[in-house]
Amino acid sequence: MTLSIYELAVLSASILAIFLLGTTYIRTNLGFYSAQTMAIAAATMLAGSQREPHLYVIALIILLLKAVGIPVFLIWIADRIDAQTDAGTYLPAPLSMHLGILLLGASYILSSELPMMLGHGQGSSRIGATAAMSLLFSGILVMLTRRIAISQIIGFLMIENGIYLFALTQTHGMPMMVEMGILLDVLVGVMIAGLLLFRIKKSFEHIDASQLTQLKD
């Protein structure tokens, strides 16, 4: 099995997502998220050279907005609310990383069940689906196992990355306007979540999402 550069870029995104699962330091997590988004931007650019040229623009926006902008913004927030590390995870970080590898294997098996939508290069489509589903699973794992709210945002962003990667590898790509709209939504979502973090920190003195289950007035 030999892989093309496009497939390597796509797979390295999902492997970086698995590395993210193994550490609970917020800064390191955001670094891994940034690297993983850069790999996705590279994959988008390579897809652009094969298919639609408008993907170049999308790749540039992803690089600026998601790989640099959002991590910097979240690191700024983490410093402001003094959240260095995710203290209590439901599953030890090494175990959730190994679970992530198991899910990568599972998504490789699952991907053979998918109907191949993209005509050219059957193999590349399958690897793309594997990586996208693994990213999705890793994001869900982060959201399920981490406690503090900033990790929930990171998990949400990883799920978004997975869905984007699935669309990129399985279809001929969405129209440019739709892509832009999604990116804007993500940006606004992260901004609002960041502001909410400040509010939560201010009124509850902590950002542990597991203790935010009871309603108060």
């Binding site: 099995m1 030999t2 892989l3 390597l8 797979l11 492997i15 698995i18 590395f19 193994g22 550490t23 970080a93 090494p94 990383m97 190994h98 590898i101 990568l104 294997g105 490789y108």
Partner: protein, 312 residues
């Protein structure tokens, strides 16, 4: 004649390179910290100094303590002969993966026995830590090498690492994962920086240095040399993996491969120096998280190997 020449070069390398490679790591680290640092031959002079020094042996030790340094020295020579850590290594009959892995384990057992034999508290500390780490790190070492073996359909290390092997010739991803897994494993196995700081003055916190505290004089020479050669072999092995990973991109002529493999070892040693300059020693309770990354690399390379097996 060429075979004789190979042996000659290899033997000279085995005798001189281990202390020098320790010296290279220290030099790179010193330069990163804005120090001039000792000459790269300093560990060699240290070994010569140990040779002329007198020896003190604790009265409570038995024959195990005296023999373990010699046994370890013999074992590491066998390992250096079996493991293809440079491409100009002379050919040997059978270098099975599992033989090599358990020779390493045998070495560890002898070191631990010697540490416990002297009956000092430091030896007990070090031995306990060493065995705990060994327990955590062994799956990574086994799985990295075994995944390479599965793809190449042989358990002979020399065939796996030969450039003539076509099954592994175009697998940069697998080589990279297995190589980084081996690299992280070696850092733990050799008690290098993120796991253990070999340069502090406090043996209480150390792993390897605490175990060899009772050795002195010529015994210490053997122990230090053994550790240096083990370092060279393990980092050399991961260097060969990295060389294989870039081989498809950078087509090497056959003549240059020997030289390139030596160069790869040098670069890996410099990398270790840089890594030691940048990282801090991890707290003991955080170590499983670091080791988990080595196991992750190994598991990923297993995944690639299985996928390749299913695909073909």
């Amino acid at each position: 004649m060429t075979e004789f020449f190979r042996w000659l070069v290899f033997l000279m390398f085995v005798v001189l390179a281990p202390p020098v490679s320790v010296g290279i790591i220290r030099k790179v680290k010193a330069r990163l910290q804005n120090r001039i640092g000792a000459s790269i031959f300093q560990p060699l002079f240290d070994l010569l100094k140990f040779y002329s020094k007198g020896e003190t042996v604790s009265e409570v030790t038995s024959w195990i303590f005296r023999s373990s340094a010699g046994i370890n020295f013999a074992l590491v020579l066998i390992i250096a002969l079996l493991v293809p850590w440079v491409q100009f290594k002379p050919h040997v009959a059978s270098a099975d993966i599992f033989l090599v892995i358990y020779l390493f384990a045998f070495m560890r057992m002898m070191t631990v026995l010697a540490a416990l034999d002297a009956g000092s508290a430091f030896g007990g500390f070090g031995a306990s830590r060493e065995v705990t780490l060994a327990l955590l790190i062994e799956p990574a070492l086994v799985l990295c090498l075994a995944s390479l073996g599965v793809v190449s359909r042989t358990s002979d290390l020399e065939q796996i690492f030969s450039f003539a092997n076509l099954a592994l010739s175009n697998q940069p991803g697998l080589w990279l994962l297995a190589g980084s897994g081996l690299f992280l494993t070696s850092l733990v196995e050799l008690s290098r920086m993120p796991v253990d700081d070999p340069t502090t003055h406090l043996e209480l916190t150390m792993v390897h240095e605490a175990m060899i505290l009772e050795n002195s004089g010529r015994n210490l020479l053997l122990v230090e040399y053994t550790h240096a050669l083990k370092l060279l072999v393990l980092f050399g092995l991961s260097a060969q993996c990295f060389l294989h990973a870039i081989a498809p991109v950078w087509q090497l002529p056959a003549v240059l491969i020997s030289a390139a493999s030596g160069g790869a070892v040098l670069i890996t040693l410099a990398l270790v120096g840089v890594q030691e300059g940048l990282s801090v020693k991890l707290r003991w309770t955080r170590l499983p998280e670091f080791i988990a990354y080595a196991v992750t690399m190994a598991l990923l390379s297993v995944l690639v190997a299985i996928a390749g097996r299913l695909g073909s």
